[in-house]
């Protein structure tokens, strides 16, 4: 199998070939590293490439495979991690010069779990500075470019993760999502990204943006791949008090259950306002596919939906400012203009506003739990627009891009973005499916059913010379 064919595989496909010894960990890792050498000067998805360490890990895993020892589905799979995750012996920059020389002393819990499961970490991925934005136009490390149109953003804040998976520089990646930062770049780059339930995945060893809104999750080509990744990274962690104490289900065993009988709600308000016409059409067509597979589709109203953007800002900015204030006082000029302004806004916000937002959050969760007695999933466009051009204003782009994703950071529900078509300009569009708390299995099985019936997730960007 040629390098380009190898890097076009899904994680699950590569895993099956690995088991049959038709491909090897070194072969696959070499192919991804070659891909990084060829394409990353254009895409700019990586901040640090860990070539030597990755090849050493791959050789070790190859020896294990030769003895018939496989650690699981991730054995020998090259993965990238957003540069917010501590990675022992390497810098974790968070996309900022402030942390550029900070060498991590240990792996983040999820990085350790990936390595234990046999994944090969190939490098640290570019992002919006400190994850505080949705475009990944990083003023210090350069913008991550969208593989479908290099003049456009990859989305953010996990833009490097989205772009790297899309072009096959790695077969899966870790992202974080505080207002949509997994789902937005997944949508804009044409891949599949899952934000699990708040508390499902440990945040230990991850540079925080907003403790009560931060989520860690997988970014891959398919829902099946996301299931395999979540089975490894999810579950209790005594080093993270926000992490739930119960074990992770075997999501990959539920994938074939289909959507027959599932009740899918289409929100009447908010999620369709200001949405590009082509995006509306493609998402509606995707819902029709789910209906044809046996899902029941109905409209629903979500209480408080207009309050949510204000509640998110009123929580995210002061929590971020609390973390950054010492550095913001000492070296404000070291922050990019957009991030500095957002942190300053957070520092000036009255405490009563933060507390009121958290009280509103509790009321919203209670009200939406009632809605989820009537439906099993919500379906919405992931983003109202396709990838903006790099030169467009960051604030406007960010406010538009997070509009449909940030409600579920506030409620903490699991939400996935799956590719559901392309605009006439050839840019990918994402369908967002949202489930009940702790029911990632339902989200993944619906996304998998959709991907079994369609081929949008198979399409590779033009920078992928296949």
């Amino acid at each position: 199998m040629k390098g380009q064919e190898l890097t076009g595989l899904t994680l699950a496909e590569a895993s099956r070939l690995m088991r049959r010894r038709e491909i090897s960990p070194t072969e696959l890792t070499e192919a991804c590293l070659a891909r990084i050498s060829t394409l990353d000067p254009q895409v700019n998805a990586f901040i640090t490439v860990m070539a030597e360490e990755a090849m050493a890990a791959a050789r070790l895993l190859e020896k294990e495979a030769a003895r018939g020892e496989f650690r699981g589905p991730l054995h020998g799979i090259p993965v990238g991690v957003k540069d917010l995750f501590s990675t022992k012996g390497f810098p974790t920059t968070a996309g900022s010069p402030l942390l550029a020389h900070h060498i991590s002393e240990e792996d983040a819990t999820v990085v350790a779990r990936l390595r234990q499961a046999g994944a090969v970490v190939v490098g640290k991925l570019n992002l919006h500075e400190f994850a505080l934005g949705a475009t990944s136009k990083n003023p210090h490390f350069g913008p991550v470019r969208n593989p479908w149109d290099l003049s456009r953003v990859a989305g953010g804040s996990s833009g490097g993760s989205g772009a790297a998976v899309a072009v096959g520089e790695c077969l899966a990646a870790l992202g974080t999502d505080t207002g949509g930062s997994i789902r937005i770049p997944s949508s804009l780059c044409g891949i599949t990204g899952l934000k699990p339930t708040y508390g499902r995945v440990s945040l230990h060893g991850v540079v925080p943006l907003s403790w009560s809104l931060d989520h860690v999750g997988p970014m891959c080509r398919t829902a099946e791949d996301c299931a395999l990744m979540l089975e490894v990274i999810g579950g209790p962690d005594e080093r993270d008090a926000s992490c739930a104490p119960f074990p992770v289900p075997r999501y990959s065993h539920q994938l074939e259950e289909g959507v027959r009988g599932l009740r899918i709600g289409l929100p009447r308000e908010h999620f369709w306002e200001g949405v590009d016409g082509e995006v509306v059409n493609l998402v509606r067509q995707a819902v029709d596919v789910l209906a044809a597979l046996g899902a029941q589709v109905r409209e629903v109203s979500l209480p408080y939906v207009d309050v949510i953007p204000h509640a998110v800002v009123s929580i995210m900015l002061p929590e971020a400012a609390a973390y950054h204030l010492p550095r913001l006082r000492q070296r404000p000029e070291a922050y990019g203009e957009d991030v500095r302004l957002r942190l300053e806004m957070g520092a000036l916000m009255p405490a009563v506003q933060y507390v009121q937002a958290q009280r509103a959050r509790k009321a919203i969760v209670a009200a939406w739990k009632e809605v989820f007695r009537e439906v099993d999933l919500l379906a919405t466009p992931t983003t109202p627009i396709v990838a903006p051009r790099i030169e467009e204003g960051d604030l406007e782009a960010t406010l538009t891009l997070i509009r449909n994703t940030n409600p579920f950071n506030l409620t903490g529900q699991p939400a996935i973005s799956v590719p559901c078509g392309f605009t006439s300009a050839g840019l990918p569009v994402g369908l967002q499916l949202v489930g009940r708390w702790w029911e990632e299995g339902t989200v993944l099985r619906a996304a998998h059913a959709y991907q079994q019936a369609t081929s949008w997730h198979r399409r590779l960007p033009p920078t992928h010379p296949r």
């Binding site: 508390g199 009560s212 926000s242 992490c243 739930a244 104490p245 119960f246 408080y304 309050v307 953007p309 204000h310 509640a311 800002v313 009123s314 900015l317 204030l325 913001l328 006082r329 404000p332 302004l341 300053e344 806004m345 520092a347 000036l348 916000m349 009255p350 009563v352 506003q353 507390v355 009121q356 937002a357 958290q358 009280r359 509103a360 959050r361 509790k362 009321a363 969760v365 708390w437 702790w438």
Partner: protein, 57 residues
């Protein structure tokens, strides 16, 4: 503008002259959010349960 300078001083933030207008222009959005949140009828309960993971699935 004076309000911004006073708030920044209270927070211990360095605010060069040229940045004050930028921040001042952004604050009305925050105050709008504050007023909307304060207008909600949320009873007497606090927010504590938001941070607790449930005991069971």
């Amino acid at each position: 503008m004076e309000e911004v300078r006073a708030l920044a001083q209270a927070a211990g933030l360095p605010l060069p002259q040229e940045r004050a207008p930028l921040l001042a222009a952004s604050l009305p959005m925050l105050w709008l959010g504050r007023d909307i949140l304060l207008s909600l009828h949320l009873g007497e309960e606090g927010p504590a349960a938001v941070f607790k993971a449930p005991a069971t699935t």
